[in-house]
Symmetry: D2
Subunit: 465 residues, 4 copies
C-alpha cells in the first residue's frame, strides 16, 4: 500500500488529506477489462454510494455517531477509482486526516477501503440486473451470497469457531460492558466474532475478544463486520473489524449471518433485535432444519433480564413451548454463555463432519424465498397476515416478524406513519391473545426506551379475529 499525498487546507474546520492509494487483496491482480469496468462503475451510478461508504470507513472510530455529521464535516470529500497498467489506483480528495498518520493512511483503514470498493464493484458488475433471473430463485440468491462472501475472502476451510453477535447499537453502559465481558470469555475459548460492524453490541464483543485473543496469543483472529449500504453510513465500522463485507441488502446480510456463523449470541437491543430473533426462529423451526444443530443464546446483564423474559413469554404464547428448545436464555453469566457456545459449536462441527458438509458455509440450512425477499408493510400486505394459533410455528414466526416489522414502521418510520395517517390503522387478522401479547411487548420496549416514540404509545392497528 503506497501513496502520495499533499496536506491541504481543510475547507471547514477539520483537517483533510489528498492521497493516492494502490490497494491490495483482491484488487491487485485485475485484468485490464476488469479495471475499466471498475472505473466506469465507480464513476457512474455507483459513485454516490461509493463516496458515502468510503467516507464511513475513513471516519471509523471517530467519536460522533451521527452519519450526517461525516457528510457535513467533510463536504468536499471525493473518491475516484483510476486505471493504471499495473492495476487500480484510488484517488481520495479532501479525505479525513484522522485516517492518516504523518500523511500515510492507516493500514487497517486502507484494507476497509479496499473492501468497500471490492464489494460494491462486485455487486454492481456480477450481480447486475442481467442476472436478475438467477436472483429470482432461492438457490440463486444463496449462490449470490456465497460468491460475494467468497470474493471477500471470509470463507476459510478452518475449524468452526465463528460466533455471530446481534444486539442494539445504542445500549446502556452496563449492557455494553456485558457484551465486552461475553466477547472476552468467547475469545478466551478461541472463538472469533462476527457482527453487524457498528457500535454498541456490535463493537463490545469484538473489543472483549481482542483482549482475550491477545492473552491467548491467538495469531489469526477474525473480527468480521457484515453491513449493507443503507446502514454503513449510520453505523460506521468499528476500528476492530478486520474483515469488512458489504452485502447488497438487509436480507442478504441476514442470510450471510446465518450461513457463516456457527452459533449466534443475541444481546439486548431494540425492536430490530426482536425482529432478528423471529427471523431466525422462522428458519430454525422449519421441519427441514429440525435436525440441524444451531446454538442460539439470548443473554444480558441481570438488569436486562426483563427484556428476554418478555420475548420468551411472547414466543411461548405464539409459537409454543417447543420453540423454546431452539434457544437458551442466560442472565448475568458471561462465562456460562461462552462455555455453552463453545460446546454447541463442537456439536456443529461433529454434525458437519458426519454430513460431509462444509465448515465455512451452512449449505444445509433451508432458507425459503420469502425470507430472502424484502417485506413491504403496505395495508394490503398487513391484512394478508394470518396470526392465528394452529398454524405451523415457522409460518407463524414469519408472519409475526412481518407484523412486527409493519407495526414498528407504522409507529416510528416516516413512510409507515404517513400510511397510517392516510389509510387508518392496519387491519390485522389474528387471535386476540396473540395480539395482546404483541402489544405488551411493544409497550415494554417503549418503557425500556428501546423504541423511541414521540408522545404516548398508541397502537397503529386493529385486530380482526
Amino acid at each position: 500500500m503506497n501513496k502520495n499525498q499533499d496536506i491541504v487546507a481543510p475547507t471547514i474546520a477539520l483537517p483533510t488529506v489528498n492521497a493516492r492509494i494502490y490497494p491490495r487483496g483482491g484488487l491487485d491482480i485485475l485484468s485490464r477489462e476488469e479495471v475499466a469496468r471498475l472505473r466506469d462503475a465507480s464513476r457512474g451510478g455507483m459513485h454516490d454510494l461509493l463516496r458515502r461508504c468510503t467516507l464511513a470507513v475513513l471516519t471509523t472510530g471517530s467519536t460522533s455517531d451521527d452519519p450526517r455529521a461525516a457528510q457535513e464535516l467533510y463536504p468536499d470529500f471525493d473518491i475516484e477509482v483510476r486505471q493504471q497498467d499495473r492495476g487500480v489506483r484510488i484517488d481520495l480528495k479532501n479525505a479525513p486526516a484522522i485516517a492518516f498518520v504523518d500523511g500515510e493512511i492507516i493500514r487497517g483503514v486502507a484494507e476497509l477501503l479496499a473492501a468497500v470498493v471490492r464489494d460494491l464493484v462486485y455487486t454492481a458488475i456480477e450481480l447486475a440486473p442481467e442476472y436478475a433471473d438467477e436472483l429470482d430463485t432461492s438457490g440463486g440468491i444463496t449462490d449470490a451470497v456465497f460468491r460475494l462472501l467468497r470474493n471477500a475472502s471470509v470463507l476459510q476451510p478452518a475449524d468452526p469457531n465463528l460466533v455471530v453477535c446481534w444486539g442494539g447499537h445504542s445500549i446502556g453502559r452496563d449492557e455494553y460492558q456485558y457484551t465486552k465481558d461475553v466477547g472476552y470469555e468467547l475469545g478466551l475459548r478461541g472463538l472469533d466474532i462476527c457482527t453487524g460492524c457498528g457500535p454498541g453490541a456490535m463493537k463490545g464483543p469484538m473489543k472483549g475478544a481482542t483482549i482475550a485473543h491477545a492473552k491467548q496469543r491467538k495469531r489469526h483472529t477474525r473480527y468480521i463486520g457484515i453491513t449493507e449500504p443503507g446502514i454503513i453510513a449510520a453505523e460506521s465500522p468499528n476500528p476492530i473489524v478486520n474483515h469488512l463485507v458489504i452485502m447488497p441488502d438487509i436480507e442478504k446480510r441476514l442470510e450471510s449471518f446465518v450461513r457463516l456463523g456457527h452459533g449466534i449470541v443475541v444481546f439486548p437491543g431494540g425492536v430490530g433485535t426482536a425482529e432478528e430473533i423471529l427471523y431466525l426462529l422462522g428458519i430454525l423451526l422449519r421441519e427441514e432444519n429440525a435436525q440441524l444443530p444451531f446454538p442460539l443464546i439470548l443473554t444480558g446483564p441481570v438488569a436486562s433480564a426483563p427484556y428476554f423474559e418478555q420475548i420468551d413469554r411472547f414466543i411461548r404464547l405464539t409459537l409454543g413451548e417447543a420453540a423454546t428448545r431452539r434457544y437458551e436464555i442466560i442472565v448475568g453469566n458471561p462465562e456460562k454463555v461462552a462455555r455453552q457456545m463453545a460446546s454447541g459449536i463442537r456439536t456443529v462441527r461433529e454434525h458437519r463432519l458426519a454430513q460431509k458438509d462444509s465448515f465455512y458455509f451452512n449449505w444445509s440450512l433451508e432458507v425459503p424465498l420469502e425470507f430472502q425477499q424484502p417485506f413491504q408493510p403496505t395495508h394490503e400486505a398487513m391484512a394478508g397476515l394470518d396470526l392465528h394459533h394452529g398454524r405451523k410455528p415457522h409460518e407463524l414466526a414469519a408472519d409475526l416478524r412481518r407484523a412486527f416489522s409493519g407495526i414498528v414502521a407504522g409507529n416510528v418510520k416516516e413512510d409507515g406513519m404517513r400510511r397510517i395517517e392516510q389509510f387508518g390503522p392496519f387491519q390485522i387478522h389474528g387471535d386476540t391473545d396473540m395480539m395482546e401479547s404483541l402489544d405488551a411487548l411493544l409497550r415494554a420496549f417503549v418503557e425500556q426506551r428501546r423504541m423511541k416514540i414521540a408522545g404516548d404509545y398508541k397502537p397503529c392497528y386493529e385486530v380482526i379475529a
Copy 2:
C-alpha cells in the same frame, strides 16, 4: 488432501489403486452450482480429455516416454468428479500405483491432478462457445489468457524473476546436461523457471535450478509448466513442476509464455523450436514493441553451435541485420547466460516500474490477432504467403513461421503428407535466395537428426518468384 482407497488387483501387470481425493487449492471453496457444473462437464464431452490428462499426471516421472504406453498400461483407468456438500471429490479407478505411497497419493501429484481438473473445467465453463464473440478479438483472447493464468494462481505481484526456457524434448545427453547447467546458474541468481513442462530442455533447467535454489536456501520456488491438451499426454509433466497450467491450445500457450516470462532462453531443439523463435521475432520486431526490453538468449553447448549459426544466418538473410539486435547467441557458457539474463531482467523491472506496468503480466506487449489464431497449412493458405524481401520484418517473420510450419507438416505430419500426395507440392511465392536459405536450414535439421524423415529429404514445395 485426504483419501480412502483399496488396493486392487492390476488388470495386466502394473499395480493400480482406487482412491478418493478431496482436492485443495481453488477447488476447495466452490458453490454448489459450480460443483454441479464441474461434475457435469467431467462426465460429458470433456471426460475423455480429462481422463487422458490426469493419466499423464499420474504417470509423471515414470521412465517411459511413450504416451500410448500409459494408455495401454492402464487401460482400465478412469476418473469421476463427484459432488459432495463440502465440495469436490475426485474418484480414481485403477490408477497407477506409482503415484501413491503406502496407499496415500503423493502430495505433488495430487496438486497436479487438481490443476488438470481446475484448468479443463475453467476452459469448459468460462471459455465456452457462448463467449465465442469475446474470443474473436485480440484483446478478448489476451483477457482469456490472463484469466486462466490468474485462476491457476501463477500471477503473483512479486519482483520479475521468471525465465522461460524453450528447446527440444528429445535432445542429446550433452545438450541435456547443458540445460541443467544453465538452470543451475539461473537458480543461483534467484531466478525461477517456466517451461513447456515435458522432458529434455523442458526438464533440465528445472532440475538444475532445484539444486541451486536449495543451496541458496530459496524458499518460494516456482517451476511452472505450461502445456496444452494435445501435448500433455505425450509430454507428461516432469516431477519438478510445482505449478501446472493447461492452456486450451498452442497459441494461448505461446502467448502465456511471452506474457508471463521476463526473459526467454532458447536451447537447441527441433523444427518446433525454430518456429517458436520466428513466432517471438514476429512479435518483437513490431514497431509497437520496439521499445520493450525483452531478454532473449539462444544458447547451447559448444557442439551445438552449428544449430544456432544456421538459424542466425537464416534470420540475417530474411529479416535483416536489425533483427539480430533482439537476441544474443551464447555458446558453451552457462554462467554468462545467467548473468546476461539476470541483467536483462533488471532492465525489464526498471521499465515496468517506469511505465507503471504490472510485474506479473506483460500487458504492454502487442500480440496481433494473427499470432493468436491457429494457422492451417492448406494449399490456399500456403499460396497466400508472401516471402519477398522488402516487407516489414515482423510481417515477413510471421509468414516465414507459417511457411516453416506448412513445410514441416508436408514432410512429417500425416495430414500434411496426405495433402501433398493429393494436390502436389505447395506453391510458395517468394524470393529465391530466401527459399534456398529455408531449404538449407531444413536439410541441416535433417542431418542433425532434429527432424525425422523416412528416406531422403525431398522438398514438398515449389517456389514461384
Copy 3:
C-alpha cells in the same frame, strides 16, 4: 503447553486450581543436568521468591492493586518445578482459578510463568556468588545484563523501534488517559513499548499501542515488561505484557532500560520517577556519551505541566542550562511526542549503522560502576555527598540522585525514618540555593500528592555549606 489439573475446593473464598504445566520457550530443551539444577534451585533458597513472583503473574490483570492481597487470598498456593525425562514440569497447587479457562491455563499467563522460572533460575545458576568477581567490574555487570536479556529472547536484530516509558504506577485518571493516548500515537508509527510492567504509566502506553498496532495490522508486537523481585509482587505485570524479564535488582533493571530502549518517554510520576530522570541525566551528561543520540521526552497532559516545570527548573539550577539539551518537554500533545520520538529513533538508527553498533543493545553507552551499584543512604554516605556548583554536571547529577534517594528514605521509608530518629538529620554538604531548590521540589511533590507523608513535611536534613 499442556496440563492436567483437578478443580479443588478453594481454601477461603476464591476458587483455585491444581495444574501441571509443561513450559515452552527456552525451558523446553534442557539437559538433564540443567533440569536437576533448576529443580534444586526451586526447592532451595529460591523457593519463596519463586512462589511470590509466580503468584503475581497468576493474578495478572486482577483488580486489586495490593500485593499482600494476593498472598492472603491464596495462602495455600504453592509451586514445584519437577524433572521429567522430557524436560521440565511445573506443578501448581491451589493456584488462582482466574488464570485458567475451563481448566486450561491461559496461554499468555503460562508464558509469563515460564519467564519467571527462566529468569530466577538463570540468575540463581548463572549469576551465582561464584561469579562474584565478574560482577565487580562495570564491564562484567553489563555483560551479565546482556546475557540475561538474551536468555529472555528480547534481543532481536531488528530495526530500532523500542520506546521505554517511565512514570508513576498510581497516577490520576487524566494522566492515565494521556499515557494511553501517547501509546496509541507511538503504536500508529510502528513503535514497540517497554515499561516497568506494572499499572498506571506502565500499562497505559501498552494499552494504547495495542489498539494502534491492531489498526496498523502490525503482526510482531513487543510489549516488554522489565521488573525485579522486590517490585513484581506489588506491581503485577499487566496482562498486555508479552515479554516479561525479571532482573536481579533495581540497578540492573535500570541498565536494561537504557541499553535496550532506543528512546525514553517520561510521564508524571512520584519521586521515583524524578530519581530515574537524574539517573539518566547522570549518564547522558558524561563526556563519553556526549555524541550518542538518545531521545528523551518528558510529557504529560496540560494539567500536569507544573510537575515537569519544577523538575526542569531544578535541573537548570543544579546541572546548568546545558543539561536541558538532553531532553524535551512536551505538554498535552501526544501526536507531537510520537513524531519527535520516531524522528529521534531514526537518528539513533543512523548513528548505530555508522558506528557499526548493534541495534539491539546499546553497548556504546558508558554506564559507570557507581550507577550499577546500589546506594545505601547511611549518615556517612549522605555526609559524603558534594552538592556544590562547579562540579561536573554528571557527577553532580549522580550525587543529587543519591541525596534525593536518601531524603525520600528519611521521610517515608521505615528504615530511613528510624535512622533519622536515632542519629538526627543527615548532614549534607551543599550550596544553599541548590538545597533550597531540592526542598521546593519535594514540597511540591507532597502538595501534588506524589509523595505520601504522614503529617506535615519536615526536612530530614541540615545543609552544611
Copy 4:
C-alpha cells in the same frame, strides 16, 4: 548475510575471492566478551583447524574427492574472525570462487561456514580442558554432546522422523544408486535424513530424499551432516546438507548419531561400517537398553547381499542368535526398507510418549563410558581383549569392535603397520572359531575391495586360546 569483496588474481590457476561475511544464526547476538574470546580462539591454537574445516566447506560440491587437493589448490586461503561492535565478522582471503555467485557467497555455503565457526568455537570455549573433570564421567560426556547439538539448533521438539544412514563413502555405482532409492522412499514417507555428511552412502540418501520431499511438498526438511575435524577435510560436506555439526571426536560423533536418530539404516561400506554395526550392537545388547525400541536395518542391492550375509553369520556365531533380533536385513527392496523404518519409528514415538522421554534426544539409551572413550590399539590393549564364548554379548561386542579396529589398523593404517613391524603380531586371547570367523570376514572384505591392501592379505595377529 552481507559481504564486500574484491576479485583477486588467483595464485595458481583457480580463481579466488576475498570476502567479508557477517554471519547469522547463533553468531549474531553475542556479547562483547564472547566475540573477543571467539576472535582469540580463532587466532590461537584453533586457527589451523578452522582454516582446514572452512576450506572443506567452501569447496563443497566440487568434483575432486582428494582433501589434499583443496589445500594445494588454494594454498593462500586464510580466514580471520574479527570483532565488531555489532557482532562477528569473518574475513576470507583467497577463498575458492566456486563458493560465490557474482561475488556474493552462496547462502547455503555461508550457513555451513557459520556452523564451522560456531562448533569449533563452542568446543574450544565450552569444552576446554578446565572442564576436563566433567568429561571424565559418562553423564558428563553425554551432557557435552547434548549441549553441542543444542547449540547447533538440531534439537527440535518435533515428531520423531530422523533416519541415520551409515555406509561407505566410496561405494560402487549400483550401491550408490540404491542409497538414493532408499532415500527417495524414506523421503516419500516424510522422514528426514542424518548422515556423516560426506560422499557415497552419506550423500545418496539425502539426494533421494530431496526429490521425494519436493514431490511431497515438504517444507521443513532436515539433511543433517555430523562430522568431526579429522574427517571433514577428507569428506567435505555434500551440498545438500542444511544442518552441519562438527563434533570434537569420533566417539562423540557416534553418540550423536545414536541419540539424535530415531532409527538407523546401514548400507554396505568398508570395515568402518562393520565397526559401527558392532558399536551399535554393543550398546543395544546391554540389559539396560533391552526394552528400548531402536529400528536398525541393514540393506543393499541384490548384488551386495554377500556383504550382509557375512556380517550376519559373524554376529550369529559370536554374539548368538539373540543378537539378530536387534536388526533386520533387507535386500534389494528400498520400499520395504522405508515401510519398516517408518513403522519402527512410530513404535519409537509411542515408547517415548509412554515414558515421557523427549523426542529430540534419546536420554534413555545407556551408553557406557568405554564406548565414549577412544580405543588405542596398542599391543597391550589388544592382548587385554577377551574374545571367548560365554561372555555377555554386549561386552563381547565391545571387545570384538576393538579387535576389529586393531586388526584393521595393523593391516592398513600407517601407525598400526609400524607397530606390527616393530613388535610382531598382536597376541589375541580368544576362541578359535570366533577368530576364524573374524578372519573370514576380513578376507571377504579384501576380496570385495572394501578394504584396500597392498599385496596379499596376511593376518597381523596370533590367536591364543
